[in-house]
């Protein structure tokens, strides 16, 4: 079977979902699942079977004939889109149910179909004009999904910021595709590596797609949009939508000739995003914002791999570039899986407690054992710890960087720095997720309101379990996923098409399996031993303090205090403090807010300056006819003076 009919099935069921999804929720779910399954199947065919599928049609849209293409690279992203698209649709049925949100749930279903469909269109089309149409539809659908709960002022602000930032990026893409079409003479997209004059266009693409990918410092829209959106939307935004930016960068750096500087820039901004993204994440109190900033970090990791691959190409196709790129592309899948899982867990907490502040939560493991376990798994995966999937992809990137360093080529210095940054980012990610897990799920409930909660139903648990299974599967058997990744790598750079690998994935897989088994056995054995010796429960010992209260627990702010202090130069925390006074202090208070530095300290002041200038200029236009006549006379006088004194117009 070729992907054509499958893609047709996928597109038509999603389109039908968009039309009928408002009223019939069960039919909509069925249609979305069918669409996702068909899309997934089509992607699998390309990843494992014939390498490419291309289709020209007589049917034209906007004056251009439809031209579809599915190759290894787009299929990799399509598989992720199908997975998260389906998981989110199932999750939303309970999370954003018709009973709880009678007005916005039907709207949410429609836009979900539209979002998945438009992202699929972006991935499959091979025509610049249609790419832009799909891109715009995708941006707008995401906007409506983010603002589903539009009563809230915060949500509306986040939505507008997202829309504005996305369009700033889209402007670059418009310029990019228009210039590309003008220079090549056709809107059709495809490899044009030999036309060296096109190289500067890649900068436009990097900028435009960089905004969508959330690369630091273009990430300003990302934290608030991902935090304020409903959690299933955050999951697809973080898991898939920002990957569309990554797709754009990878796609066009593979098709266009690459400027010599591009590899350096990409690896530099990748390292910067990885380090600063996770530093911001660690300091957050809102757990969904923490997850959002962590996405900035992971996009950074992906770009480190892509940048290293670009450097490798410009230094004689060194094989380490292949490893780094494979790691980056596998990380696209991995991040899609564990970040969606984490956002689903976050949604489950939000659904039950109604707060996004970690300082109000705690001790949820008792009422939400499933969510706790799944969040812990996601936390291990996102911290890149063995034996889960996050480690496999980071390991591949590390291996690429280490090889680049031992090769002692011109890129060795950059690779060294990137590897150290990656290590620091990994340690900070671990710190962030110990903090998040501990503040939300462990210890005692910090407020009364959140002490009585419920576990999510199977509708929410099932998609989380599915994603967790993906994380475990990629971790334990990475070699099974290697051919798919190599297919994508070989599309990007055909020289690297060989299936063999210098990364011992089989050994790693066996080590992971053995490790996982020993962990299970050891935990069970220790538990049994403890029970045998006699188990009793008592108050937390805490060095003998007999009356501990939940408010005495370590807070997230204190937990992050040490390391966040090292980054205070960029985090610029805003602190409000009321010190306790006198022998019997009546009140004391400390509040800390971590602003989005680039947005609030750079963009907003710049915007203010522009508005001030505009306001000053606007004084010239005030509606007084006399003054306008005076402008005319003065202008004429100036011109005549200019001519009289010998000026040539």
């Amino acid at each position: 079977m070729t992907p054509g009919p499958l893609l047709l099935i996928a597109a038509s069921s999603l389109a039908a979902g968009f039309v009928g999804g408002g009223r019939w929720s069960k039919t909509w779910l069925g249609l979305t699942l069918v669409g996702a399954a068909a899309g997934f199947w089509a992607a699998l065919i390309i990843l494992l079977g014939p390498p490419e599928w291309e289709w020209w049609s007589e049917f034209s849209v906007g004056g251009e004939f439809l031209h579809l293409r599915l190759d290894g690279l787009s299929a990799l992203f399509l598989a992720l889109l199908s997975l998260v698209g389906a998981a989110g649709a199932v999750y939303a049925r309970e999370y954003w149910s018709d009973q709880r949100y009678p007005a916005s749930a039907p709207r949410g279903r429609r836009w979900w179909s539209s979002l998945v469909l438009s992202m699929g269109m972006v991935l499959t089309t091979s025509n610049g004009l249609h790419f832009l149409m799909g891109w715009e539809l995708f941006t707008v659908s995401a906007f409506f999904l983010i603002t589903l709960d539009r009563q809230s002022r915060e949500v509306r602000a986040a939505g507008w910021l997202y829309l504005a930032a996305s369009h700033a990026g889209t402007v670059c893409l418009f310029a990019f595709f228009a210039l590309l079409a003008a220079r090549t003479g056709s809107w059709d997209l495809g490899p044009v590596r030999e036309q060296v004059a096109l190289a500067p266009l890649l900068w436009l693409a990097l900028l435009g797609f960089g905004v969508k990918a959330g690369v630091f410092p273009l990430h300003v829209w990302l934290p608030s949009a991902h935090a304020s959106a409903p959690s299933h939307v955050s999951a697809i935004m973080s898991g898939v939508a920002i990957k569309m930016g990554v797709y754009g960068i990878v796609r066009f750096s593979g098709w266009l000739p690459v400027p010599a500087l591009a590899g350096w820039i990409v690896i530099a901004f990748g390292s910067l995003s990885a380090l600063l993204g996770i530093a911001f994440a660690f300091a957050q109190n809102d757990y969904k914002r923490l997850l959002a900033y962590c996405s900035v970090e992971n996009v950074g990791i992906i770009l480190i791999g892509v940048g290293a691959a670009l450097l490798a190409i410009s230094h004689g196709d060194a094989p380490w570039g292949r490893l780094a790129l494979a790691g980056a592309l596998l990380h696209v899948w991995n991040h899609g899986a564990f970040k969606s899982l984490l956002f689903f867990s976050a949604g489950s907490v939000l659904h039950a407690t109604g707060t996004r502040e970690m300082s109000r939560l705690g001790g949820l493991w008792r009422t939400k054992p499933w969510t706790t376990g799944l969040f812990a798994l996601g936390a291990l995966a996102v911290s890149g710890l063995p034996p889960l999937n996050g480690f496999v992809s980071e390991w591949l990137v590390y291996l690429g960087l280490f090889d680049a360093v031992t090769g002692q080529g011109p890129a060795a210095g950059a690779a060294m720095l990137a590897a150290i940054m990656l290590g620091v980012a990994g340690a900070l990610a671990l710190a962030s997720f110990v903090k998040a897990g501990a503040m939300i799920f462990l210890g005692a409930a910090r407020t009364q309101a959140t002490s009585k909660t419920h576990e999510g139903g199977w509708g929410m648990r099932a998609p989380m379990l599915a994603l967790a299974a993906v994380c475990v599967a990629i971790g334990l058997a990475p070699v099974l996923f290697w051919p798919a990744v190599v297919r994508a790598v070989s599309v990007w750079h055909p020289v690297w098409a060989a299936a063999d690998t210098t990364a011992p994935l089989v050994t790693l897989g066996w080590v992971h399996v053995a490790f996982a088994v020993s962990v299970l056995v050891a935990a069970r054995f220790l538990w049994k031993r403890a029970r045998q010796n006699g188990l009793s429960r008592a108050l937390t010992w805490d060095c003998g303090y007999a009356a501990p209260t939940a408010r005495m627990q370590y807070s997230g702010g204190s937990f992050a205090g040490i390391a966040a202090g090292w980054f205070a130069w960029i985090l610029l925390p805003v602190t409000r403090r009321l010190r306790p006074r006198g022998p019997m202090p009546e009140q004391a208070l400390q509040q800390q807010r971590i602003p989005e530095t680039v947005l609030e300290r750079v963009l907003a002041p710049a915007g203010d300056v522009i508005i001030q200038i505009s306001t000053a200029v606007r004084r010239l236009q005030h509606g007084h006819l006399q003054s306008y006549i005076f402008y005319l006379v003065a202008g004429l006088a100036a011109l005549s003076g200019f001519v009289c004194f010998g000026g040539k117009p």
Binding site: F402, G413, V424, L442, A444, D542
Partner: protein, 302 residues
């Protein structure tokens, strides 16, 4: 089959010898202070006693409180299997095992800190916060150190990387790794394993609420980590691959003993640093390792 026997045999050595190190350190400290000190085998007695003891769990603790130590211990055990033993090679060696080793140590850290946070105790929160924060700098130093070994040997596998001496940067690397060893194993001047002022501790503060077999597992894991770092440091400095098996074994034992005595002497003559100064010392360790890396990179090319 022979590999399985080999691995079991190696593990037995690692696991049995590890608790000896804290005993030696305590002996050194006692000797310097002119005390008699606890027996060298004290930790073995403690472990045996704890293994028999009953467990008191905090009312707030979830099953993760017991699972954490178990997972942490397994990850440390897996990490030592990746460390080569001179001419014997490693129990398990493949390209990129060095990254796995670093991340297994990170997994152990995740488990210890997660288990510590289970109890809702502020002391343990404090300990975990310090542990994860200082690890950020230690991780940077470790990556730089491993990169310098990689550059020097042109390999990404620990067996090859630890074969020759670390070259002209060996002194810098040894100083950097020794500092990281002190920080990661919570020794003076970063932490004081003897203190009972909970406010000033890292590792001890994290395990305040553990008891019985889980505590035994944690203590054993900590000694295993100390042994791992001492072996790593010794092998990075000494040219293990060029010695005959007997000489190598002797050199390894002597090296580990030297490191242990060094830790004991540092602990005897230095006071614990104020926590404000800890990041500075760790930054120095990072710089030492980075300079070792630069020497390996630029010096090797010349």
């Amino acid at each position: 089959m022979s590999t399985v026997i080999d691995i079991v045999f190696r593990l037995a050595w690692w696991l049995l010898l590890a608790p000896l190190l804290p005993g030696i350190i305590n002996r050194i400290k006692a000797w310097v202070a002119g005390r008699r000190g606890p027996p060298v085998l004290q930790l073995y007695y403690d472990l045996a006693r704890l293994w028999q003891k009953e467990v008191v769990l905090s009312t707030l603790a979830s099953p993760g409180f017991v699972a954490g130590p178990a997972v942490g211990w397994i990850s440390l055990t897996a990490a030592v299997l990746l460390i080569p033993l001179g001419p014997l090679g490693a129990g398990l060696s493949f390209r990129g095992d060095v990254v796995l080793m670093l991340y297994l140590l990170a997994l152990a850290r995740f488990c210890t800190t997660w288990a510590a946070m289970e109890t809702g105790s502020a002391f343990e929160g404090m300990g975990s916060a310090r542990e994860v924060s200082y690890a950020v700098l230690a991780e940077a130093a470790m990556i730089a150190a491993m990169l310098s070994l990689s550059v020097h040997t042109g390999s990404v596998s620990l067996t090859k990387m630890l074969e020759p001496t670390a070259g002209p940067g060996a002194v810098l690397l040894a100083a950097g790794l020794f500092t990281v060893l002190l920080a990661e194993n919570c020794r003076v001047p970063f932490d004081d394993p003897n203190t009972h002022l909970e406010l000033t501790m890292i590792h001890e503060a994290m395990v305040l609420d553990h008891s019985g077999p889980p505590l035994a597992v944690i203590l054993h894991g900590a000694s295993l980590k100390l042994l791992l770092f001492s072996v790593l440091l010794t092998e990075a400095v000494l040219p293990m691959g060029q010695l005959s098996p007997f000489a190598a074994t002797g050199a390894l034992l002597a090296g580990v003993l030297t490191v242990t005595i060094g830790v004991g002497l540092v602990e005897s003559f230095l006071a614990r640093f104020a926590f404000r100064r800890v990041p500075l010392l760790l930054t120095m360790a990072v710089l030492l390792c980075v300079f070792a890396l630069l020497i390996a990179w630029k010096g090797g090319a010349a």
